[in-house]
């Protein structure tokens, strides 16, 4: 049987791990897929190349398929399907060492309390600046429709900051973040690893909140494929999902994480130093230059806790954040739209016959940290203990 060619675009981040593992460890080949990986430095480029057929599949931000369907940003509507998620975790909010010092002086209690609430100290710094007539600070995320943008805003809003008025939030592509902080063009950012650890290792930044401090179960990257490709290549979609799910299982084993760090450090993959990648992948990140690493076992979750399942409720939550920050009209019904984009049916079809534990439903009430199935779905607290029930916000029946 001849191998089926699949071209997949990715952005250099730790969470491009699954496609990299699928190719390097032979999981793609076992599914008769000849997987070609192409590194991209921008989300706009990867979106366009997927949309217009240069790529068959792509490592995407969870918000991109939603934004593409709605034709946001002046783009005509594109039908991108999400047959699986590519794991969870990996983001963090990093501020310059100078801003960190100011936050520490302004509100030591907040800086020593839960990291999810550290924005209360930032609020005090913003108030000081305002009283002194200083210009507002600048922060960066990686794309308008990124989980990073929604996490940074969630964190700020919980600290009493209005992210649209009290700060500037701009966009910088992930590999350029570190230089921007180092050169003082931004005061802080939210980005995926290794671009936070890199700032800490070089003494330029301090991590003030991890993604899991903001919402433990929050969604991250997804696999995006064009809907017409799904229709004309159903067997290839199944095979690709299976290969990536098996890669996730491999990547989640603690004993494989050092090898994974080695794999990702290559210039054709992430191209960051092995030590930085390993610290993050072993769940032992350093938050402040010179500190000992902390224990953060869920820093990168690839397989456990249903991390590859495309939960409708996680996609719908992304939609609510787009509405919260005025990117999308409040009348858009994401509960209906999401099941047309996120495709748990494709995931279930693909892994049939594999030993992959599946949830009973395609959605769940998010934010219930003491749920009966916690061992299966993982910790699930929001920093403000909020609950997200997708049925309640647009009247979708059970």
């Amino acid at each position: 049987m001849s191998l089926k060619q699949v071209r997949l675009g990715f952005v250099p981040l730790v969470d491009c791990a699954l496609p990299v593992v699928a190719r390097a460890k032979g999981f793609a080949e076992e599914e008769n897929i000849d997987l070609t990986l192409i590194r991209e430095m921008s989300w706009a480029a990867i979106r366009d190349k997927l949309s217009y057929g240069v790529y068959d599949a792509a490592h995407l931000l969870a918000g991109i398929p939603l934004a593409a369907r709605l034709g946001l940003g002046g783009m005509p509507s594109q039908r991108i399907a999400v047959p699986m998620a590519l794991g969870r975790g990996g983001n963090a909010i990093t501020v310059s060492t100078r801003l960190y010092q100011r936050m520490l002086e302004a509100d030591p209690a907040a800086m020593h309390g839960p990291r999810g609430l550290s924005a209360r100290a930032l609020k005090k710094v913003i108030d000081e600046d305002r009283a002194a007539g200083r210009p507002i600070m600048s922060f960066a995320t990686v794309f308008p429709y990124s989980s990073h943008n929604y996490e940074l805003r969630y964190w700020m809003a919980a600290g009493g900051i209005d992210p649209d008025k009290d700060v500037n939030i701009g966009v910088i592509a992930p590999p350029r973040m570190f230089d921007s902080l180092r050169n003082g063009w931004v005061d802080g950012y939210c980005v995926g690893e290794p671009w936070n650890q890199r700032a800490v290792f070089h003494g330029d930044g301090v991590i003030v909140a991890l993604k899991e401090d903001i919402w433990a179960r929050s969604p991250e990257k997804v696999l995006g494929v064009r809907e017409d490709w799904v229709q004309s290549n159903p067997d290839t979609v199944d095979a690709l999902v299976r290969a990536l799910v098996r890669s996730a299982e491999w990547a989640d084993q603690p004993e494989n994480r050092t090898e994974l760090a080695q794999l990702l450090s290559g210039e054709s993959h992430v191209g960051a130093s092995f030590d930085i990648l390993r610290a993050s992948l072993l769940g032992r990140p350093v938050l402040k230059p010179g500190d000992n690493p902390i224990e953060a076992p869920d820093r990168h979750v690839f397989y456990r806790y249903t991390a590859t399942f495309p939960w409708l409720s996680q996609g719908a939550w992304v939609g609510t954040q787009m509405q919260r920050w005025g990117q999308v009209d409040a009348t858009v019904d994401f509960n209906t739209l999401i099941s047309d984009i996120y495709r748990p049916d494709l995931y279930r079809r693909a892994v049939k016959g594999l030993d992959v534990a599946l949830p009973h439903d395609d959605w769940r009430v998010e934010g219930v940290n003491d749920a009966a199935d916690r061992a299966f779905v993982g910790p699930d607290a929001f920093l403000d203990n909020s609950i997200f029930d997708m049925r309640s916000f647009a009247g979708v029946g059970e």
Binding site: E40, S42, A45, V54, G73, P76, G170, I172, R176
Partner: protein, 195 residues
């Protein structure tokens, strides 16, 4: 709006390619063409230039920054939309394949924009062709240097004539099914080892 009234901005990290695109546009009658490379005050510079059309290489990481700018419409006076009209899918495909993307002020008629984008596509393709040819020429020159050096070593160390040295390299290349330059590289390495 006459041709020369369009303000066109070319953003490219490659100054040579940007120059080729700019010249193509100017020669076609567009007089208001500016270009910038990578810049950390991109937003301010674009605001100052207020272009009707932005041509930018598709893979430029600055595009992520641009799209944020266009989404937050209060940042710039006029909303800008990406040039992609569903009815124009051939041009779009050609643009993506050539590595060109474009953003235009909302409301500009598609038939006024298409020639500009098509000009950019043809210039990008021409630049690619030039670059390929230059790379090939460079590789050839490099090969010739290696062969000359290996010949020199064989003549000096083994007392061969120039023709004999070349024939020896060629014979081995044919026998091993490799390029003469590769054999030349092996010869150079081998002689370096001895000293």
């Amino acid at each position: 709006m006459k041709l020369e009234d369009f303000s066109i901005l070319v953003i490219d990290e490659n100054p040579d390619r940007a120059a080729i695109v700019e010249r193509g546009l100017v020669e076609s009658g567009y007089t208001r063409v500016s270009r910038i490379g990578t810049s950390y005050n991109l937003v301010e510079r674009i605001q100052a230039l207020a272009p009707d059309i932005i041509i930018i290489d598709l893979e430029n990481p600055d595009r992520d920054t641009l799209e944020q700018m266009f989404q937050v419409s209060r940042v710039i006076a006029r909303p800008i939309a990406m040039f992609v009209d569903q009815s124009d899918s051939n041009t779009i495909r050609e643009a993506v394949e050539a590595g060109v993307s474009a953003y235009v002020v909302d409301g500009l008629r598609q038939d006024r924009i298409r020639p500009i984008v098509e000009m950019a596509i043809s210039r990008f393709n021409a630049f690619d062709q030039l670059r390929r040819e230059r790379d090939e020429a460079k590789a050839k020159l490099n090969d010739r240097k290696l062969i000359d050096r290996a010949k020199g070593l064989l003549m000096q160390e083994k007392g061969l004539s120039e023709d004999e040295a070349y024939n020896l390299l060629r014979k081995n290349a044919m026998k091993q099914n490799r390029k003469i330059s590769e054999i030349a590289q092996s010869v150079i390495t081998a002689f370096q080892l001895e000293f």
